[in-house]
Amino acid sequence: MNEYVAQALAIDCDKVARYLVERLREYIEESGARGGVLGLSGGIDSSVVAVLLAKATDNFFFLLMPSASTPPRDMEDAMKIVKLTGAERKHAVVPIDDYVKAMSSAVDVADKRIVGNIKARLRMVLLYAYAQKLGYLVVGTGDKSEIMLGYFTKYGDGGVDILPIGDLYKTQVRQLGRCLGVPEEIVAKPPSPALWEGQTAEGEIGADYETVDSVLYLRYEEMRTREETAAMLGIDVSVVDRIDALVRRSQHKRLPPEIFRLSGRAVGSDWRYPRRYWNVRPW
């Protein structure tokens, strides 16, 4: 990674971990939920959030939802996190292939992207059902790199209540994972949504995460030009343009749906309230 960007993205792990754990604890408490549930895939993001969640509350639950395209190694890695967090009695394994087949045949499709998104959305349905059963929130595991690129399934892995590591780039999540004691084989594993066999994030995006994070940081936090960004990183400007295009095209995935304006005051326009609206009581 470029030295300048590496410096900028270096984190004080202890400080960041303590901050995220405390915010998780507080959010769960103040939302009135009893705890948090998350989908554990054996990848770096869900492993890190699982460890943070287990530090924040005793009331956590992990769902492992393998499909035919889930590499066996991922479930082994997920079980290492179950062990690390003492979740032997706080997890469930729910294989999803039967439901995927049922949904795919209802839509009569075999396209790997459509079926892949069905998998991500079925997992969301299961997470919310478990969350409601337990009185928990759904804790999301998306990181800033994925959110900026739109590299997630809308209402699939994007359908969650909170995103604790959503302001940390993938390479920062790796830093955090190492100091939280996440096994190195999980930290170093190439990220993959595993929605179909052989899928890798870096293959689909067309750049490694060191490059992706560097471009995102320089373009959107330091607001440097595409040419300057490419020159600083020693990469072709077409790589910067490709990442820019992913960010622009996916804006609809990051915002609530557009509401067509008619009234004097409309949600999404000039009706702007904080999320923690429930605190307001007449006095």
Binding site: I11, D12, R23, E26, W271, P274, Y277, V280, W283
Partner: protein, 270 residues
């Protein structure tokens, strides 16, 4: 010696009653002459359109706080409706049960801030004020006003020996250090040194929506020394004593008294 308490609290966004109860408890248990709370401490800061609803509750909270204040001076953050439909980001200054208001002049509207959408700014000729309590003359200015030289300069030249700064400074860039803390410390020292005054910064702490306020309140002497530091990232309260002798010594060896006001005539034309 005047004793000032810094009450670094975490307001609950929108829950004015709960915030009021916390204010009252701190005021009632304080043995200081003056208790200072953060900016918008009765309402919370990241209010958005709740601003339009909460000003009524926060005005009521100020009245009740005045009743509970005894002989103390209390500075609490609130919304004041100055004319029907015109709201200002304000500090209520309660002295001997009487309430006065200080208004924020510089309303940040950039990045995560959107104050000009909701508030009218104060008007310096009408709204710059100093107060007298427990043998000290002090002024109050709110958060962003400390990022400009004039408000502190004006208060000092109007006779303030102490400037209180209620604030709501959110954390940004928590990487390896907390850059915003260094920036604030530099500003506070500069105001204290340039104007030969005591400076007290009382920051909000804790989360409100996406944001997180970092706390780290400070008291800085007229010699530019940080005399008191409150905790980072958690609620805290502490008292410090203002030594007017230290102020006197600082002024003997300062060019503060040589203020050349004609600079301002030049500035006024720019």
């Amino acid at each position: 010696m005047v004793r000032i308490e810094l009450a670094q609290i975490r307001p609950f966004l929108g829950d004015v009653e709960r915030n009021f109860l916390k204010h009252r408890e701190i005021v009632e248990t304080s043995d200081a002459d003056c208790v200072v709370f953060p900016e918008l401490s009765l309402t919370g800061y990241v209010l958005k359109d709740l601003t339009f609803e909460l000003f009524r509750y926060s005005e009521k909270a100020v009245e009740k706080l005045a009743e509970a204040s005894g002989g103390k001076c209390v500075v609490a953050g609130t919304i004041k409706e100055v004319r029907p439909g015109v709201l200002r980001n304000s500090a209520a200054v309660i002295i001997n049960g009487e309430v006065d208001y200080v208004y924020k002049f510089y309303l940040p509207t950039y990045g995560l801030f959107e104050e000009r959408r909701y508030f009218q700014r104060g008007d310096p000729p009408r709204d710059l004020k100093t107060f007298q309590h427990a043998g000290i003359k002090f002024g109050v200015m709110i958060c962003e006003d400390a990022w400009h030289p004039e408000p502190a300069e004006a208060l000092a030249l109007m006779g303030a020996d102490l400037i209180l700064i209620p604030a709501a400074s959110p954390m940004r860039r928590l990487g390896r250090s907390l850059a915003i803390q260094d920036s604030w410390e530099a500003l506070l020292k500069a105001h204290a040194l340039m104007n030969a005054v005591w400076v007290t910064f009382v920051n909000t702490v804790g989360s409100q929506e996406e944001e997180f306020f970092w706390g780290g309140s400070m008291a800085v002497s007229p010699l530019g020394e940080v005399k008191l530091r409150l905790k980072l990232f958690e609620e805290d309260r502490a008292v410090y004593s203002i030594d007017l002798e230290e102020l006197r010594r600082a002024r003997f060896f300062s060019s503060f008294r040589d203020h050349i006001s004609s600079f301002h005539r030049v500035l006024a034309e720019l």
